[in-house]
């Protein structure tokens, strides 16, 4: 070692360049870059020549051909005369739908379960523990099949549907009345946004008043009241510009109304319950990471249990919770591709399944699908990092 040091500090004129650690490092880096680029380039050119010799058509031209098949659930207008480009969008939106709902529901359930796990009530904390240990340790695919085959499968057929008010539950899904908006409905929409603005103003006013006088205002319930009352009043003044489209049994199935297909329900239930079990553990570890003295100090000041949790413990726990939470969100979104096992038409089922098979453009389609998941994951990750920065301890 000392010899090396001597060499590098001595005038470099006599040192051969492969004995100079700096230059050697640069050389190695160049070699690695060349190898990596060369390997990738080799794979690409290999694939291209093979595709050509085997006479397989390549390119993205297929995206503008008409698809010729229908899809169970579409969030945008779509039928068999639309293009393969549309099937991509339909699949993408279905994936985003289940991903978004899953993330929201899993977060809510996970927080509830995580807090319940730490409850002083023996029964609640043991129940939460049972839930976490059961659902965390059963493979997700089995859970999806469980909900789909064992829970939703045995529901009665359309003609023997279970009636819940004017909604119907059967093995084809949950049929609910769908709202039909008439021309005057935009007044109500405007009123709703106005109510949101009012609530926001109320929150700020309350903060200022509390800072100045120390007096509090029942901000939560008054906000809820405003959000419901204002649009409702406008709705009646505008002459009730909305009617309901009721589902009706016609022929084989219900027609009209809104339907939530069992594939979506099963997938959402499984993803939510499975991921929430992990989130609950993350929340528990986050809360336990907050020094017990904080809670005790808060209690000593006479702050209630609920407020201690909301104002003191959770904000500090969030700093520990958010980074692992992000990876649970990413897991949930990626796991949603298991949808294909029960026929929920997500991106993998619709685009990488049917579309790939009808067009045979394997490389293009798999590339696009991977790019989509990568993009979604990076966006979620970026958002969570931003949120984490906001929640981080402001150090001086």
């Amino acid at each position: 070692m000392p010899a090396d040091l001597d060499q590098s500090s001595a005038p470099a004129s006599k040192t051969k360049f492969w004995n100079d650690p700096d230059k050697r490092a640069i050389l190695f880096q160049i070699i690695i870059v060349v190898l990596v680029v060369g390997t990738i380039g080799h794979f690409v050119s290999n694939a291209l020549t093979n595709l050509e010799t085997r006479g397989i058509t390549t390119g993205f031209g297929f995206l503008s051909q008409s698809s010729g098949f229908d899809i169970l659930l579409t969030l945008i207008p779509y039928d068999a005369t639309y293009t393969f480009g549309h099937t991509f969008v339909v699949g993408l939106l279905n994936t985003l739908l289940v991903g978004f709902l899953g993330v929201v529901l899993a977060t809510i359930l996970g927080f509830i379960m995580g807090v319940a796990r730490l409850s002083n009530n023996w029964l609640i904390s043991k129940l939460a523990m049972c839930y976490i240990e059961t659902f965390r340790n059963i493979p997700l695919l089995l859970q999806i099949f469980f909900w789909y085959v064992a829970v939703l499968g045995p529901l009665p057929g359309p003609r023997q549907s279970i009636e819940i008010g004017s909604a119907f539950l059967n093995n084809r899904g949950l049929y609910t009345p769908a709202p039909v908006f008439e021309s005057g409905f935009w007044f109500v929409v405007v009123a709703f946004f106005a109510a949101i603005a009012l609530c926001w103003y109320l929150v700020r006013w309350n903060h200022r008043r509390q800072d100045l006088t120390g007096q509090q205002f029942p901000i939560f319930w008054s906000s809820v009241g405003i959000l419901i009352a204002v649009p409702l009043v406008v709705y009646f003044f505008a002459g009730s510009p909305m009617s309901w489209d009721y589902p009706e049994l016609k022929g084989f199935n219900f027609k009209g109304g809104n339907v939530i297909i069992p594939e979506l329900t099963a997938l959402l239930l499984a993803l939510t319950i499975y991921t929430a079990a992990f989130i609950a553990e993350i929340v528990r570890s986050g809360i336990e990471a907050v020094n017990k003295g904080q809670t005790e100090a808060s209690h000593a000041l006479g702050i209630s249990n609920a407020k201690t949790l909301r104002l003191i413990v959770i904000p500090q726990a969030l700093r520990v919770i958010i980074p692992p939470l992000t990876s649970q969100y990413l897991n949930l979104i990626k796991n949603s591709s298991l949808a294909t096992a029960i026929g929920y038409p997500d991106l993998v089922a619709v685009f990488m399944g049917t579309t790939l098979n009808q067009t045979g453009q394997a490389i293009e389609i798999i590339f696009m699908t991977m790019a989509v998941y990568l993009t979604i994951s990076l966006l979620v990750s970026a958002f969570m990092n931003w949120y984490n920065k906001i929640m981080a301890l402001a150090e001086r």
């Binding site: 070699i31 229908d70 084809r172 049917t354």
Partner: protein, 340 residues
């Protein structure tokens, strides 16, 4: 430095080698492996389905066995790879299998754009509908508003959409990966109708807990010529598969069966039979096979008629009549070019 140079040289050589290694002929690779890799379905009675001992059986399986008999002289030297409809073409394109014999419909797109070749037709089929008898439906035209179970990645999906659009009816597609799942969906009542090729409907019907509770509607809504598929660009292998199938059809026409093959090959004076068993005529030379290649097929697998009766016809639970799949001389479509 020496080390570095040698690493660079080795990696460069490896790149060059792997680029050159892709043009291997299928026949040579099959001979050196000692078995034929054959893509089959994940379980379709009559066409490709493992029996209770785990041996694959069926009309499509017999095509693979015929090719193995012709190339390796032993019909049992086949490795079966079960594939879903979605996986099948990628498996063939990537070289994971040598033949795809999996009730696959011959269409223009598949033949021209996927780099594949169809080596003939071993079953003339058409798409139909199966419904539960309790629905009281007598015709496919009464299916407006029905939920329909289908297997994804099939021509069935496209025909179904065409049919309902043409007749201005609506439907809900419920798409599953395997035919097993579609049957389960149908049984569980997720859908009113199960659609597939007619032959498959009969095969799937016997998988139901109570087969008599379902019926196949009379309408046939499409042409589905099913046949074995190979990769494009290997004409020798394409010819071998094509003529293995032709040999089975020609043998039926000549009255050559697995039972009488030995005797006929010795004693028959029929020039057609003599050519087929390789005593005269083109023999195996043009295909790169032994002269008795076709004899081995008939001896070990049987002619087309035998395979049909054994797997889907009167000798099987499916009891499908020959119909369109009878020989051309008996009112069907089967017509193999002459072996001369």
């Amino acid at each position: 430095m020496k080390k570095l140079a040698s690493v660079a040289a080795v990696s460069a050589i490896a790149m060059g080698l792997s680029a050159g290694a892709q043009a291997e002929e299928t026949l040579d690779s099959v001979k050196s492996k000692g078995f034929v890799q054959c893509g089959v379905s994940t379980g379709l009675p009559g066409f490709s389905n493992p029996d209770e001992k785990g041996n694959w059986q069926g009309l499509d399986v017999d095509v693979c066995r015929a090719v193995a008999a012709a190339v390796l002289g032993d019909a049992s030297k086949v490795k079966y790879i079960p594939l879903t409809a979605k996986e099948r073409f990628t498996a063939l394109q990537s070289g994971e299998i040598d033949i795809l014999s999996r009730n696959t419909t011959w269409t223009q797109t598949r033949d021209t754009k996927l780099g594949l070749n169809f080596a003939g037709v071993n079953y003339y089929d058409g798409q139909g509908y199966m419904v539960s008898k309790s629905l009281g439906v007598k015709s496919a035209l009464e299916l407006d508003g029905a939920a329909v179970c289908i297997q994804s990645g099939t021509t069935t999906e496209l025909n179904l959409s065409d049919y309902f659009r043409e007749h201005k009816m609506s439907y809900t597609p419920v798409v599953f990966d395997t035919s097993d799942q579609t049957v389960k969906g149908f049984e569980a009542g997720r859908c009113d109708v199960l659609t597939s090729d007619q032959s498959q409907l009969y095969a799937l019907r016997i998988k139901l807990a109570d087969p008599s509770s379902a019926m196949v509607l009379p309408e046939v809504i499409s042409k589905e010529p099913l046949g074995p598929v190979v990769r494009q660009g290997d004409d020798q292998w394409f010819n071998i598969v094509k003529w293995s199938l032709n040999a089975m059809i020609n043998a039926e026409e000549l009255g050559l069966t697995s039972a009488n093959a030995d005797e006929m090959s010795k004693s028959s004076t029929n020039p057609g039979i003599k050519r087929l068993v390789g005593k005269e005529g083109p023999k195996g030379e043009g295909l790169g096979l032994n002269d008795d290649w076709a004899f081995q097929i008939i001896k070990q697998v049987g002619n087309y008629g035998e395979a049909f009766e054994r797997n889907v016809g009167t000798g099987s639970p499916l009891k499908i009549s020959r119909g369109n799949n009878a020989l051309w001389s008996k009112g069907g479509f089967l017509y193999a070019p002459p072996m001369r």
